[in-house]
């Protein structure tokens, strides 16, 4: 426990000094706020674009607040995941490659605390960034588009957060397996993308897949939304995060210990 605190403090300090605590939340906030603002001002933006034929009129049905929030989540599914993967991908592989971890593991330290601190700091970064961005999106949606039912927003947000946790945990696992950073980014992004696409193509086989979490959270936001398989998917996702953690601990141990 003592060592976990030390490792965790070090991870937090590192994320602070490398400005991750600044730019990741900022990007998430920007992504979140952009969607309602863009939607609200879309007619004006189109008008001022200037290359429209004369006399053309565009009528855009004003979307509901819930729809705008669902679109925001769509933004996080692409750029949000990319930022997340890029910001945590070298957390384990970087220390292994540079050789710092040699000095760390020659000391009487526990591999579980080491990995747990990585996981905990990744989860804090993701949670804080998403909470800030999603909160911003919610605030602006209510201000300029229309009210949304709070229960649905919170539920959708929690399920989406679970999906981001999954993506982060997956990235850390790959980081413990592979050395080159581009390889880590490619594998984790590819796997996350495949999972979420698979639940679009084969909904029958992927009811409980973590990849269906983004859809589930969008469903919560639909009027009278009821998401199928939500609890199952959430539980399976948490189980996956735990398995990824255990696998990474095993992997780190295998590389260094007398095991």
């Amino acid at each position: 426990m003592m060592q976990f605190k030390l490792f965790f403090r070090k991870e937090m300090l590192e994320m602070g000094r490398s400005y991750k605590w600044l730019w990741v939340p900022l990007v998430f906030l920007m992504l979140g706020v952009m969607q309602p603002v863009m939607t609200r001002f879309m007619p004006e933006i189109l008008k001022s674009a200037g290359n429209m034929p004369k006399g053309m009129t565009i009528t855009i049905a004003p979307p509901s607040g819930a729809e705008v929030l669902a679109q925001t989540l769509g933004q996080y599914s692409s750029i949000g995941i990319l930022i997340l993967v890029l910001s945590v991908m070298t957390m384990i592989s970087g220390e292994r490659q540079s050789g710092v971890s040699q000095m760390i593991f020659a000391k009487p330290v526990s591999y579980v605390s080491y990995a747990a601190a990585k996981w905990a700091s990744m989860l804090s970064l993701v949670t804080a960034s998403f909470a800030l961005g999603y909160g911003g999106a919610w605030y602006y949606t209510v201000q300029i588009i229309g009210a949304v039912e709070a229960g649905a927003v919170v539920k959708a947000g929690l399920f989406y957060l679970l999906w981001l946790w999954f993506a982060g945990a997956l990235t850390l696992l790959v980081s413990s397996l592979l050395d080159p950073a581009p390889g880590i980014a490619f594998v984790s992004l590819g796997a996350a993308l495949l999972l979420s696409m698979a639940s679009g193509w084969l909904p029958r086989y992927t009811v409980y897949s973590p990849g269906s979490l983004p859809q589930i959270s969008a469903q919560w936001l639909e009027p009278a939304g009821e998401a199928k398989g939500a609890v199952g998917a959430a539980l399976l996702c948490l189980a996956c995060i735990f398995i990824f953690f255990a696998a990474a601990v095993y992997r780190i141990k295998l590389r260094y210990s007398k095991g």
């Binding site: 060592q3 030390l6 070090k10 300090l13 590192e14 000094r17 490398s18 540079s98 050789g99 710092v100 040699q102 000095m103 760390i104 593991f105 020659a106 000391k107 009487p108 330290v109 260094y256 210990s257 007398k258 095991g259």
Partner: protein
């Protein structure tokens, strides 16, 4: 102080189909300073990494004894400095020492005290407040020593501690080591024999994954040194020709001749010196130097490595 601290038995390491360390055995006594010498690729780093617990041996055992009893986890008793120490460039030297002290099990207060002490000891008192990213190679090596020693280990294991340093940095580290070895048992690897002679009393010579020679420095000097005559003659034709022929005399066991210099291993150094001089005078050869003495460890090292 002849209690054993580390016992290594039949230690081996195999990477795929290549055996890098081939079942070596040795022991290190408490309070001694041992050098693991060998050419590049002899398996020194692999051995060191197994001793530090960073690499799982393919066979054999490494046992560390504390108060005469074997310990289950040797890591609290070992300080380790890798070949090219890498730190977190965004940390300051003091922060890193504090961090490694606490990781090794010191309380916050102890770690703070030891950090100040070791920063002074390795001459980084002012630099300790700066980020490690801006440190020179020598400073990193000294910081590496401090982090290895902060928890007062019984055995300090260093992998090529001075090989990558310039002469000044090297002298700093060697001076430090000389002080440290008074309090701690030290094992370090090097391919520079001179460094080993300067601070060590035990030698382990490795070649191609095997220990080819081991023993105390004095013992090795006594047992393996051979009578040698070093000769240097003038640059004229006659002298050169005479020197080239000198290698063929009956008392010469082995000869190395290059240009105007020769190193002759002989059976009886007194007789050889007399005969050589008499011969040289009679043929009007100009001798610049003639030294009758013993072969150095360097010669022994080269012989062990090449044979």
């Amino acid at each position: 102080m002849t209690r054993e601290l580390l016992q290594v038995k039949g230690l081996s390491k195999r990477f795929k189909d290549r055996e890098v360390v081939k079942g070596i055995s040795f022991s290190i006594a408490e309070g001694s300073c041992a050098a693991l010498i060998g050419p590049n690729g002899a398996g020194k780093t692999t051995t060191i990494r197994m001793l530090a617990g960073l690499l799982q041996p393919s066979g054999g055992s490494v046992v560390l004894l504390a108060e005469g009893r074997p310990v289950a986890d040797p890591r609290p008793y070992i300080g380790y400095l890798p070949q090219m120490p890498v730190f977190y460039p965004w940390m300051t030297g003091a922060e890193f020492l504090l961090y490694s002290g606490e990781l090794a099990g010191l309380t916050r207060r102890e770690a703070t005290r030891e950090t100040g002490k070791w920063l002074d000891a390795v001459g980084l008192r002012d630099a300790g407040k700066r980020r490690i990213g801006g440190y020179s190679g020598g400073m990193k090596q000294r910081l590496g020593l401090a982090q290895a020693l902060i928890h007062r280990p019984r055995l300090l294991i260093l992998d090529e501690p001075v090989s990558a340093l310039d002469p000044a940095g090297r002298k700093d580290v060697l001076t430090l080591l000389q002080r440290i070895r008074l309090e701690t048992t030290v094992l370090f690897s090097t391919h520079v024999l001179h460094d080993a002679e300067e601070i060590c009393d035990e030698i382990l010579m490795m070649r191609e994954g095997e220990i080819v020679l081991q023993g105390s420095l004095d013992h090795l000097r006594r047992t393996y040194s051979e009578p040698v005559i070093r000769l240097e003659v003038g640059g004229d034709e006659v002298s050169r020709a005479w020197l080239a022929a000198a290698g063929g005399k009956d008392f010469v066991v082995q000869s190395e001749i290059s240009g105007g210099r020769a190193k002759l291993r002989v059976a009886d150094v007194e007789r050889a010196a007399l005969e050589l001089m008499a011969d040289a005078v009679s043929r009007r050869v100009t001798i610049r130097t003639l030294e009758a003495g013993q072969s150095t460890l360097e010669d022994l090292f080269l012989k062990a490595v090449r044979s």
